[in-house]
Symmetry: C2
Subunit: 346 residues, 2 copies
C-alpha cells in the first residue's frame, strides 16, 4: 500500500499559542490560513464555516477550549466559569454535528476536574491524534468493500479537510486507491455550498485519484447507466439505530442507490454517534441563510423576496445504509444492537 | 376560474418579418428581446438556449422555416433545396426534444408540397395557436389531480416560457390555482442552468402562486417531512411506452417520489411523443459544455482540468410515472396501449 499524502485543514501553532485554520470558504481558488487566538475567533470560524466537517469541527472546538483556558489564566479569571461560558459559546455554533458536543464534553470534564491550559492542550492534541489513527483504521475497514474497477460516488466533502487525518469517506476511497485498486470517483458538487466541487474535487486531484464532477441531480442517471457500484459518504450525527444525518442531498443519493441496488455506505468515527437518541427523528437539523441558495457571485438567481428552504442536513434511515465503517469496525447490518456492539457499548 | 396572465417567450413581428425571442439566459435580471430575421439566427438562438423548453423550441423552429422560405424567395434560390438545408440546420441544434423534429416535419412537408413563405407563416401561426389551446386543455386535465392544500414539486421550467401558452407543468399548477385551490409550489433550482430558480420562480411570482425555492438535493428531504403531495414536470421526448426524457434530475425526483408514495406526473402535448421509438433507451441524450457545471460567474468552482459529466436530460421510466397529462387527455396507467389510445393512434 502506497502512502496517502493529505492536506491538513488545521494546525496548532506552539509559537503563537493559536489554532491555524485553512479557510475552506476560499478553496480551491486560494489557500489562506486564519489564526485563531481566542475562543471567540474559534466560535466564529466554526459558525462561518472557515472549518467544516463533523470531526474537524470537534477538534477545532477542543483547541477552542484550550484558548479559553489560557485566556482565563492570563486574566486571572475563574477558570471553571470561564470555561463553562466558552463551552456554551462553542456549543451554540452549529447544532447538527455531534462531534462538536462530544469534544466539548471531553474537554469540559477535564476542565471541571481543574485541568490547566497545558493539560487541556495535551488532551486536544490527543483527541486530534486519535482522529488521525481512527481515520486510518476506518479507511481499511471501508476499503475492504471497494473492488478493483468500481465507480464510487461520494457527496459533500468527507475528506482530510473535514477531519484530522485522511478523512472518513475519502479516507476509505484513498485507502482503496493506495492499495492499488483502480477506481473512478463521481463527485456530487453538493449545493448550495459546493463542498464537492470545491473541496472533494480538489482533494482527489491532489491525491491523483481519477474523478468526475457532476451536479447532484445527475447521480441517479449515472446509476441507471451502471457507472456507480458503491456510494460512500461521511456523517454529522448517527443515532443509536444507525439513522445518519449528513449533508443535505445524502438522503436522495441513498434512495437512488437503493432503487438501483447499489450499496450505500457511511464512514464515521465513534465520536459521530449519539447513542443518547434512539433514532434520526431526534437529530436537530440546522437551517442556514437563504442567500446560500440564491446568491450567485453577488447576484440573485431568483426574483427578489423569493421564499427559500435551506436545511443543511438530512437524515438517511438505517434501512437504506448497507453498512457503517467506523474506527472500531464495520456495522452491518445497521441496527441498534450492532451499533452498540461494534462501538463497544455492550 | 380566474384568468391566467402569462409571460410570452416568443412573438412574430409582422412589421419586421422576424421572430422576437425573450432572451431567457438573462432572466430574471433583465428582460431583453432578440430579433431573429434569418434561419441562422434562429438556429443559433435555439442552440445557445435564448429559447428553451421542448414546445417553445418546436414553435421557434417552425418560424425559422418561414424565415428560410422568405430568404429563398428574396434571393430567387431553389426554395425546396434551401428549405431542406434550413431544416437540417435547425434539426442539428439540439438532439433530445422531439417537438423540434415534429415541427420541422410538419413545416417540411408543406415546403415539399411547394408552399410559399406566407403559407408557411400561416402554418407556423397555426402550430403556435394549437400549442396555446393544447396547454389550456392539458392544464384542466392536470388540475383535476391537484387538491386544495397540496404541496406540489416541479423541476426545471415547464411554464409559459417553455411553450406557446400557459405552460405544461406550470400550466397545470396555474390552472389549479386559478380554480381557487390553495397550493404551495416547491421549485427545484435545477442545476446546472438554474431554470427553476431563474425562470419558474419568476413565473410563479408573476402569477402570484405561493412558492419556495430549494436546491435539487432537498426534494427528498421535503417529501420525508410530508410537505409534498404531488410532483409534476414537463418532458422533452416521450417514447411509445411512456418512458419520458426531461431535464436532468427529473429521474431522481421520480425515484424519491416513488419511495415516498408521492404521485409523480408528467405534462406534455402530443407533439412531445415519439411513437417511432418503443422505449426510452432510444432517446438521444444531449451532453452540454462542462463549463455549465464549473463556471460560477466567470470563476471555476473546481480545480482546473477536472473531468465533468454534464448530460442535459435523463429518462424516467413509465413505471415511475403515475400519469401523463396531454392536450388529448390523461394517460393512466402509463403503458403503450393507453398512450396510443389517448393520442388517437388506435
Amino acid at each position: 500500500m502506497s502512502r496517502i499524502d493529505v492536506v491538513v485543514p488545521l494546525a496548532w501553532s506552539e509559537a503563537r499559542f493559536a489554532l491555524r485554520l485553512l479557510d475552506q470558504r476560499r478553496l480551491p481558488l486560494e489557500e489562506t490560513w486564519i489564526d485563531c487566538a481566542t475562543v471567540d475567533e474559534v466560535a466564529c470560524a466554526i459558525r462561518d464555516m472557515v472549518v467544516r466537517g463533523a470531526p474537524a469541527i470537534g477538534i477545532t472546538a477542543a483547541f477552542g477550549m484550550v484558548l479559553a483556558a489560557r485566556q482565563a489564566e492570563r486574566e486571572g479569571a475563574g477558570a471553571r466559569e470561564h470555561l463553562r461560558a466558552a463551552r456554551d459559546k462553542l456549543a451554540a455554533t452549529r447544532p447538527t454535528a455531534v462531534n462538536l458536543f462530544w469534544a466539548l464534553q471531553r474537554m469540559g470534564e477535564l476542565a471541571e476536574a481543574g485541568a490547566c491550559a497545558d493539560e487541556l492542550l495535551a488532551e486536544a492534541k490527543r483527541l486530534h491524534a486519535e482522529d488521525i489513527e481512527g481515520n486510518r483504521k476506518m479507511g481499511l475497514w471501508g476499503a475492504a468493500r471497494i473492488e478493483d474497477g468500481m465507480g464510487v460516488l461520494t457527496h459533500c466533502n468527507a475528506g482530510a479537510l473535514a477531519t484530522g487525518g485522511i478523512g472518513t469517506a475519502i479516507g476509505v476511497i484513498a485507502t482503496a486507491h493506495a492499495q492499488g485498486k483502480r477506481i473512478h470517483v463521481y463527485v456530487d458538487e453538493t449545493r448550495p455550498r459546493l463542498q464537492g466541487a470545491r473541496l472533494t474535487a480538489w482533494e482527489l486531484s491532489r491525491l491523483g485519484i481519477p474523478a468526475t464532477l457532476i451536479c447532484d441531480n445527475m447521480a441517479a442517471s449515472l446509476m441507471a447507466r451502471g457507472r456507480i457500484q458503491l456510494c460512500v459518504t461521511g456523517a454529522d450525527r448517527i443515532a443509536a439505530n444507525g439513522d445518519a444525518a449528513n449533508k443535505i442531498g445524502t438522503y436522495g443519493v441513498a434512495i437512488a442507490a437503493h432503487h438501483h441496488q447499489v450499496p450505500f455506505h457511511i464512514a464515521a468515527p465513534h465520536s459521530t454517534f449519539d447513542l443518547a437518541i434512539p433514532d434520526g427523528s431526534h437529530i436537530p437539523i440546522e437551517e442556514r441563510d437563504p442567500t446560500e441558495v440564491t446568491d450567485w457571485a453577488g447576484q440573485s438567481t431568483c426574483p427578489v423576496g423569493m421564499a427559500v428552504f435551506n436545511p443543511s442536513f438530512d437524515v438517511t434511515p438505517a434501512s437504506l445504509i448497507r453498512s457503517i465503517f467506523t474506527d472500531r469496525g464495520e456495522i452491518a447490518p445497521v441496527q441498534t444492537q450492532n451499533v452498540l456492539e461494534v462501538l463497544g457499548h455492550t
